[in-house]
């Protein structure tokens, strides 16, 4: 044991009031040369930690409970390789990172769900791909991604900033003299002051304790000099760097756009072979993208009339029941489409008659009284004389409802006594 040649300072000679008084270095460099003065230690009156070196893991593990029982400060061990059971011996509690990740991951899932629910189901509900606005299945992949995002960011940043205390760039133990031995074949136990106050570290007591448990060499590592980050030089360099990056990026982008041909990255979607309205196409022989429907095509909801002349149409039967709902619909459509020419009473006296000097049919006349339902229907579909077709304006049901309503108007203008309520 070499520490007998390099005694630790006598507690009696050190000033009582300043336990953190610089203590002479007591470590023995691995090459065996003893240096009289440790320059990392000189002129500092604040110790950051005290390192005790041990020859093997058994010595280290035996020392830990003894030093720990004295409660001198926070214990940490530095070893050249992982030593099983070290965490338990040092009493290092389980990292809170797992709980943090769990909480933030759950928060990520809730955030993603709430965002999507509010956007898709409340604020802007659109049916996409035939799915209801509120479709939880579609939310799950994004919930999964955001959960992973929150969890990994929490794990990474929490580890760096909260647990490893970034921007604490270099731990003082890295600049200790013992470090080269720790990375080779020595096992170090360090005692650090608990909490923020470094003054609480009683270096004499710690040194004594480490010596008692058989540390072959003891070193007091001083507190690192605080390095200010936001100096004027740093800020100027940062601003200069940002400006340079902007200028270089802007100039290269300008040049790239101006002098180089456009290279679209992916155009499969844009340039796929498909039929476009109003565009030519090599698919059909006549070169048109738009084609007439094949002969005999019937559009959905537009059954053909089945009659080729008004006389044939006379046989058609009004399929709608003559009830209040139908007559209301007929009245509405008649007022919208027919009354402007034929008049509200179907007497051919509409508001447009005078303006255009036209002579629309008086549906109250005997000729039209004799028309069958089918014949009136035919005229609505095909038009007659100056009257245009209303096939595009009125659906089949609406036309038949109008026919019912015209019948009602005819009846109303030619009411008989027995029509009155008894």
């Amino acid at each position: 044991m070499s520490n007998s040649e390099h005694p630790v300072p006598d507690p009696e000679t050190a000033p009582e009031t300043a336990p953190q008084t610089p203590v002479a270095p007591t470590n023995v460099p691995e090459d065996g040369h003893t240096e009289a003065v440790d320059k990392t230690d000189r002129g500092r009156d604040d110790a950051f930690l005290v390192l005790g070196l041990f020859e093997n893991t058994d010595a280290l593990m035996a020392a830990i409970p003894k030093v720990r029982s004295k409660a001198l400060g926070r214990l940490e061990a530095y070893t050249p390789y992982a030593v099983h059971g070290l965490e338990d011996a040092l009493g290092i509690r389980q990292s809170p990172l797992g709980a943090m990740v769990m909480v933030m991951g759950t928060l990520g899932a809730i955030t993603a769900f709430a965002c999507q629910y509010w956007i898709s189901a409340i604020d802007y509900p659109i049916v996409t791909g035939g799915k209801a606005p509120w479709s939880w299945e579609a939310f799950v992949p994004i919930m999964f991604e955001v959960t992973v995002l929150f969890a990994t960011f929490t794990a990474g940043l929490g580890m760096l900033l909260l647990l490893n205390k970034l921007p604490f760039f270099g731990h003082p133990v890295l600049s200790s003299r013992a470090m080269s031995a720790i990375t080779r074949d020595k096992f170090a136990l360090s005692v650090e002051a608990e909490g923020a106050s470094r003054a609480a570290l009683d270096t004499r007591a710690v040194t004594q304790a480490l010596k008692e448990v058989g540390a072959v060499s003891i070193e007091i590592v001083p507190q690192p000099e605080p390095a200010p980050v936001f100096t004027a030089e740093f800020v100027l360099r940062a601003i200069g760097g940002i400006v340079t990056a902007c200028v270089v990026a802007g100039a290269s982008m300008y040049g790239a756009v101006k002098w180089f041909p456009e290279l679209p990255p992916m155009t499969h979607m844009l340039e796929q072979r498909k039929l476009m309205p109003q565009k030519s196409s090599s698919f059909f022989r006549d070169g048109h993208g738009m084609q007439l429907p094949a002969p005999g095509t019937i559009a959905r909801g537009y059954l053909p009339l089945g009659a080729s002349s008004q006389d044939e149409a006379a046989e058609l039967v009004n399929p709608l029941p003559r009830d209040i709902a139908t007559l209301e619909l007929g009245k509405q459509k008649f007022t919208e489409r027919c009354a402007v020419c034929h008049g509200a009473l179907a007497d051919g006296n509409g508001s447009l008659t005078a303006a255009y000097g036209a002579k629309p049919a008086n549906l109250q006349s005997a000729q039209f009284q004799r028309y069958s339902d089918g014949q009136i229907y035919w005229v609505i579909v095909n038009g007659k004389n100056a009257m245009p077709s209303h096939a595009a304006d009125l659906s089949a049901d609406q036309r038949w409802a109008v026919v019912h309503y015209v019948r009602a108007l005819q009846r109303a203008q030619n009411a008989k006594d027995q029509d009155l309520n008894p």
Binding site: H84, Q94, G98, M102, G130, K131, E137, A138, V140, P141
Partner: protein, 383 residues
């Protein structure tokens, strides 16, 4: 599956006998569909448990894992369930003409199936099943019989041979699981198919084997066997189980979501059936038992090495695997979920036979592979 050393086999024998009576009665009384659906269900249960355990063994050899050597004998013994599976599968082939539309004469008139009849019909179906059984038995012989022999010979050569055999087994294993998934489960509804279905069954198979292994290790430890197995070993088993609950859910949900999105009639009817009526409840319960409960129960570090909690989660996991296969197979009957005396008898019979087999299997060889040259390293495993 259980220690069962202290227990008398009388209960198991009685259970099996009662079950056998019910199974026989069911063959006479029930429709053939119901009987054979129950039969193939139990074939798939036993097969997935056995092949999943063999997968664990092969996986440890493949990556030369040391931590798992002290507990490797447990999945090795569980894998021997592949032997009683052989008669179950061969008898189950009688179900092919009854249950599988691809093997029925009507398939020739179905324009979707007509071109596949040569593959789906009984001869090719039987050929594939026999190949699966032969490959599984041979692999079992190499990995498990070799390991049991090593107990006495202490021949380190086995460890090398097993490591060389494992990569090839992984390829064969992929085919075995996929064939069983496609033929025996997905073949019940041949117009429905999912490319990922084999992976889905693999996830369930591996999870059930992990759960059975964890449960057996905990029970053996309670019976003062496997004393040297530390919480660190349990932690790894728990970690595997934890990770693969997520894998199973990922595959299961991915399969569902793609079909839900595409909404193709030939695909979506399979899920439509399982998301309406009583099956909807089963689906929800399955998601809770197979994912949510084990995921949160095992999420903390201490939970993974706590034997009591691990045993409870393993039991839930095994139940969830049974429910998963029930959910896959039984809707083919076209009824809601039901559990009658038929299902009870089948459960009693096959659980009884399986437990009796395992009771015997857990006496084969030492509790640890004492011949493995790396056993000491495995015992010294620390997290």
């Amino acid at each position: 599956m259980t220690d069962a050393k202290a227990k008398s086999p009388v209960i198991l024998l009685g259970m099996t006998g009662l079950g056998a009576l019910g199974v026989a009665l069911s063959f006479i009384r029930n429709s053939h569909e119901r009987f054979w659906v129950n039969w193939i269900y139990w074939f798939v249960v036993l097969f997935t448990l056995g092949i999943g355990s063999l997968f664990i063994v092969a996986l440890q050899h493949l990556v030369s894992a040391r931590w798992s050597i002290p507990i490797r004998r447990v999945p090795e013994r569980l894998a021997t369930l592949l032997l009683p599976v052989i008669p179950v599968a061969l008898i189950g082939l009688m179900a092919v003409r009854v249950l599988y539309p691809g093997a029925q004469p009507e398939a020739l008139h179905d324009h979707v199936l007509a071109g596949k009849v040569w593959w789906l019909d009984l001869p090719m179906f039987s050929l594939r099943t026999v190949l699966v059984l032969v490959a599984a038995t041979l692999s079992l012989g190499v990995l498990v019989r070799g390991s049991l022999r090593q107990d006495k010979t202490k021949d380190p050569g086995f460890t090398v041979r097993a490591r060389k055999f494992a990569p090839g087994f992984m390829l064969v294993f992929a085919f075995l699981v996929t064939i069983v998934a496609f033929d025996w489960i997905s073949g019940l509804t041949p117009d429905w198919y999912s490319d990922i279905f084999g992976v889905y069954l693999f996830a369930g198979s591996f999870l059930s084997a992990l759960a059975a292994s964890s449960l057996s290790v905990v029970l053996l430890k309670r019976g003062n066997r496997l004393v040297e197995v530390k919480p660190d070993h349990l932690y790894n088993l728990g970690g595997f189980t934890f990770a693969f609950t997520v894998f199973w859910s990922y595959i299961g949900f991915a399969q569902y979501m793609l079909m839900w999105y595409a909404n193709l009639p030939e695909e979506v009817h399979w899920y439509h059936q399982r998301l309406h009526g009583g099956w909807h409840t089963v689906t929800v319960v399955l998601a809770v038992l197979h994912f949510i409960v084990p995921f949160f129960a095992l999420s903390t570090r201490d939970a993974k090495s706590d034997p009591k909690r691990l045993a409870v989660v393993a039991l839930i996991m095994l139940g969830a695997h049974l429910l998963d296969l029930y959910w896959l197979i039984f809707p083919v009957l076209g009824e809601g979920p039901s559990f009658t005396w038929t299902e009870l008898s089948f459960a009693l019979f096959f659980l009884g036979v399986g437990l009796l087999w395992l009771r015997q299997a857990f006496t084969w060889g030492d509790d640890m592979p004492v011949g493995d040259p790396f056993l000491r390293e495995g015992l010294e495993f620390r997290l």
